[in-house]
């Protein structure tokens, strides 16, 4: 060819178009970042004022929370205890059931059963939490109360945590199942080839190989439980308690309990005037809660990175 091939294009127009795309996509990504930053600022500013009015030692170490009745006391410990109590109860339900559900779906269920069960689990995840709350209050509490020897208050931590556990089962099972599915079949075949039974393969090979994902699912589900609000507001009651004795600790499940989230709802919906110390306590509790879930999510990331198996 004697003529040079024409490879020029409409460069100027293309350049403008490409940079417009960049700006639009960046702005979309920026929305969530800016919102997060805004929330952090909105939490920190009232918290600083609050800590000027209530000593840090009273807030972090106080075992009483009584924002409405004079003299007011703002100890976050009873609320943190309530949150941890209910999260612990939820974990006792969701971790074993969620993991075994994942194991069943990933290793045991036939294609047709899987096709039915997975959407059902997703429905469980889609039920509004307020519905779970009333389910706990109206059905689960009377059911548990019917057990001889179990004295339950109308509002109690037990039924709230059981129902919350059921609510987070799909989180545990779906993330765990994804990570079990990611275990290559070649590893299963290796075990079968050595005369392993299905149980040997599932429990002895698949679960350890998928451990990072399983552990992440636990922590993400727990951080969801810590932040969960409606179930505890509806079913667990509004009595901030901090047990002073071991028997008090055991008894905590059966009586009305206030969590950090339900305290925030109470502070925000009561007729406390804005600009009071009690109102600002709402933000201090919110920030504490935010830090707790943030730390859990960071731990989850660290676990996933530390125990991730590289199969190549």
């Amino acid at each position: 060819m004697s003529n040079t091939t024409d490879l020029t294009g409409d460069r100027g127009f293309q350049d403008i178009r490409e940079s417009m795309y960049t700006v639009v996509f960046f702005l979309c990504a920026a929305v969530s970042v800016i919102t997060t930053a805004g929330i952090i600022v909105a939490l920190i500013l009232p918290t600083i004022t609050f800590l000027g009015e209530v000593p840090m030692s009273e807030f972090f170490l106080g075992t009483q929370f009584s924002p409405a009745i004079q003299p007011t006391v703002f100890g976050v410990l009873p609320l943190a205890f309530g949150t941890l109590l209910i999260t612990f109860g939820a974990a006792m339900v969701a971790i074993p059931i969620g993991t075994l559900t994942a194991l069943y779906l990933s290793e045991y269920a036939s294609e047709s059963r899987r096709a039915v069960l997975k959407p059902l689990l997703e429905i469980l995840a889609g039920v509004p939490t307020v519905v779970y709350g009333y389910f706990a209050l109206v059905y689960v509490t009377p059911l548990l109360d019917a057990i001889p020897g179990l004295e339950l208050g109308t509002f109690n931590a037990l039924s709230a945590s059981l129902v919350m556990g059921i609510m987070i089962i799909p989180m545990v099972s779906s993330i765990s199942e994804d990570s079990m599915n990611a275990v290559p079949d070649s590893v299963r075949n290796a075990a079968y080839g050595l005369g392993a039974t299905k149980y040997d393969v599932s429990v002895g090979v698949v679960v350890p190989s998928a451990l990072s994902g399983i552990a992440s699912s636990f922590i993400l589900a727990l951080s969801r439980a810590i932040g969960e609000t409606m179930i505890v507001v509806v079913a667990a009651g509004q009595t901030a308690r901090f047990p002073e004795t071991t028997s008090g600790l055991l008894n905590s499940f059966f009586v009305s309990t206030q969590t950090m989230t339900s305290a925030m709802v109470q502070l925000g919906t009561s007729d406390l005037a804005g600009g009071t110390t009690a109102y600002r306590a709402l933000f201090a509790i919110g920030l504490t809660l935010f830090v707790m879930t943030l730390v859990l999510n960071l731990v989850s990331d660290a676990i996933a990175a530390r125990f991730r198996e590289d199969y190549d």
Binding site: P184, V187, A190, A191, L194, G195, A196, G204, P208, Y311
Partner: protein, 289 residues
Amino acid sequence: MSQDTSSTEAEREETDQLITTDPGRGGLSEQDNTSTVMTGDTIIQSRNLDVFYGETQALQSVDLDIPENQVTAMIGPSGCGKSTFLRCINRMNDLIDVARMDGELSFDGKNVYDDDVDPVTLRRRIGMVFQHPNPFPKSIYDNVAYGLRIQDRDVDMDSVVEESLKKAALWDEVKDRLNESALDLSGGQQQRLCIARAIAVDPDVLLMDEPASALDPIATSKIEDLIEELVEDYTVVIVTHNMQQAARISDKTAVFLTGGELVEFDDTGTIFENPESQRVEDYITGKFG
């Protein structure tokens, strides 16, 4: 698996008399077959073995006698059914939902597809090494010990692990880091670890499905040396794409060609120097496949 010795003997005699290939297909002479059976006792025997994956037929009426304590190689182009045959022996095909088989395949005189055969027990006697190294994401030690642990064997674990790693020619490279993850080993080391893992449970037979195809030439030659040593204690059945490899390491060679047909089975020397079938000669000389 309990063995009825007399019936085993009877079957073996029957084997001696039977013509091992389908006479209609015109592969081997009767003479060659007799010698095939005489060189070592048959440990694995298939008769009219058909395998289907859904509608696709992967093996067609395969008759094959695999001798004890020898290396039997299976060669043939991709999709010829040689790996399928291997996976029938320890019933790994059971794990594939659409796989279906007909005919008979016996191990030590017992049809492994009989109803009373537990594939778990069978696989404890027939070990397998796969195409791609597939160590567990556990330590080197735990990989080798795995089979013994699931079988609850009452053995001196440390010494079996050491012995197996020595047999797999890996001990010197890993003896100082037995507690490190097996996934940190090189591909060739991982494959030798998989061999150590398979022989730790002391099987009768080792099935190897292209065990060196994912490895570099140096690692490949280590695996080949190893196979030649292993055959003193084990029966080795190896699937390979590499004809030179089959020629180097095997005593017997089975040639599968397209459609899941076993075309010829004989001493490796005969297959490579003077095959009966023109198709086998064409395949071996590279005119086809």
